[in-house]
């Protein structure tokens, strides 16, 4: 079998059109998940009554099950729930009006939130107890201590782990193809089946994934350097 390099180029151009959707499926869940993760990490770090057990369950469940399962459960389960609510309140709305991509983003946001909460939590625990005590002794309240002393250092500490998660998530978006989202892997599959040239199409897809990863890594490198500029251990 011979590789048809000219088709790699054709597939490459075709798959490139799927990049925006892939980036949306990667970064929207990361941003939403960051907010979820921050809230969950703070709830767990301060061991807040009632919320803490819920947060623990959330993290345990979503880290303990694969992302594809979250997508499937929400893709099939959420419309049922939505229809029930619509019926109950007589809303002028139907669940099949909701674009599928919303389900995928919801599911991936919850996945990302569980991972990010653990990343942020380890960042929080890296801030020495002495600094927190010092902040209290100069008269700060808990909110000020969290905002001004704990989070800036916790987040700076989290940058490398968040980078890893983003790269992992970029690749995880490939499963959105299973609910007919035309992201990179989906586009590769389509162009491959049309022309029966699977190897070429996936080589092209691989190059695109790799290129995006390299861009993310480069940006993260500079961000990491900046975030940890106060520490001697950053090279």
């Amino acid at each position: 079998m011979v590789i048809d390099f000219s088709f790699v180029w054709i597939a490459f151009k075709e798959i490139l059109k799927a990049v925006p959707l892939t980036l949306i499926l990667t970064f929207v869940p990361i941003v939403v998940g960051f907010l979820i993760g921050l809230a969950v990490a703070l709830i767990r770090a301060h061991n807040i009554k009632f919320l803490s057990p819920i947060a623990n369950f959330y993290v345990s469940f979503f880290r303990g099950t694969p992302a594809i399962m979250h997508i499937m459960v929400i893709y099939f389960g959420f419309p049922i729930l939505l229809d029930y609510v619509i019926k109950k309140f007589n809303l002028p709305f139907q669940s099949n009006h909701v674009p599928i991509v919303v389900f995928v983003i919801t599911a991936l946001s919850l996945t990302a939130g569980s991972y990010l909460s653990e990343i942020i939590r380890s960042g929080i625990s890296s801030v020495s107890k002495g600094q927190i005590e010092a902040a209290y002794t100069i008269g700060m309240n808990t909110f000020q201590v969290v905002k001004r002393i704990i989070l800036p250092q916790a987040l700076a500490q989290s940058v490398p782990n968040i980078t890893n998660l983003i790269i992992g998530f970029l690749h995880t978006t490939s499963i959105a193809f299973l609910v007919s989202q035309k992201e990179i892997t989906g586009a590769a599959n389509i162009v491959a089946s049309k022309n029966l040239k699977f190897l070429e199409a996936f080589i092209a897809a691989g190059i695109i994934y790799w290129a995006i990863t390299l861009i993310i890594e480069t940006i993260a490198y500079f961000l990491e350097k900046k975030a940890k500029s106060y520490s001697r251990s950053a090279f």
Partner: protein, 250 residues
């Protein structure tokens, strides 16, 4: 100005403070001495509620707290009356020396940034770090970090500065610079309570020395009395251990 009345604190079954009574006048410099485990650090940490005492009263200036019925607001008020210098410096690692000193002025005392900066620069100059203002803690030596810690406390202009073994974590050659800064502040009439193992320093700088052991104040008095004519056997034993007369004969 400072009154500690019947202060008790236990960790589990271990009673660390067994009813402490201390009175401190404005401008006094008190050193607390005692063997490790005697409760001196716990006492100091109760004064700003880093530890909550189980029983007793703490009065600093116009803030009075009863350990049995204390609320969060009172704790915040009490903390604003004092500032602490820690054994491990505890500087904010993500802030420069200047920012460390400015933090409390801006965030807690609500001073304008320019006013806070002016004040912070003045205090940093006093501790001899005017050319290190933009350095992060990781770029400073232990002695320099502790001097920033002292500046951070001093800038707040508290009623009392609490020193928790300020030189214990320092390399021996860096102890001197920190003690010199503390002595300088002492001469300016700031009320200070110092927990320390530096016997000579305590003797030179203090108006009064408190010797603690086993969670109680064993003896207190002017340095002269504590160091030369102790009344209590326990004080005598401790000082003998801490200031050994070396025998160089072969």
């Amino acid at each position: 100005m400072i009154d500690i009345v019947g202060l008790k604190k236990s960790f589990g079954h271990n009673e660390v403070l067994k009813g402490i009574n201390i009175h401190v006048e404005k401008g006094e410099i008190i050193s607390i001495l005692g063997p490790s485990g005697s409760g001196k650090t716990t006492l100091l940490r109760c004064l700003n509620y880093l530890e909550s005492p189980d029983e007793g009263e703490i009065i600093i200036d116009d803030v009075s707290i009863n350990a049995r019925k204390v609320n969060k607001k009172e704790v915040y008020q009490l903390r604003k009356k004092s500032a602490m210098v820690f054994q491990g410096y505890n500087l904010f690692q993500h802030k420069t020396a200047l920012q460390n000193v400015m933090e409390g002025l801006v965030v807690v005392q609500k001073k304008s940034v320019s006013e806070a900066k002016e004040k912070a620069l003045k205090v940093l100059q006093k501790v001899g770090l005017e050319n290190k203002i933009d350095a992060y803690p990781s770029q400073l030596s232990g002695g320099q970090q502790q001097r920033v810690g002292i500046a951070r406390a001093l800038a707040l202009n508290p009623e009392v500065i609490l020193f928790d073994e300020p030189t214990s974590a320092l390399d021996p050659e860096l102890v001197g610079e920190v003690l010199a800064v503390i002595a300088k502040i002492a001469r300016e009439g700031k009320t200070m309570i110092i927990v320390t193992h530096e016997m000579n320093f305590a003797r030179e700088i203090s108006n009064r020395i408190i010797f603690m052991d086993g969670g109680v104040v064993v003896e207190e008095g002017i340095p002269q009395q504590i160091f030369t004519e102790q009344k209590e056997e326990r004080t005598k034993q401790f000082l003998k251990r801490m200031t050994p007369e070396l025998d160089y004969s072969i």
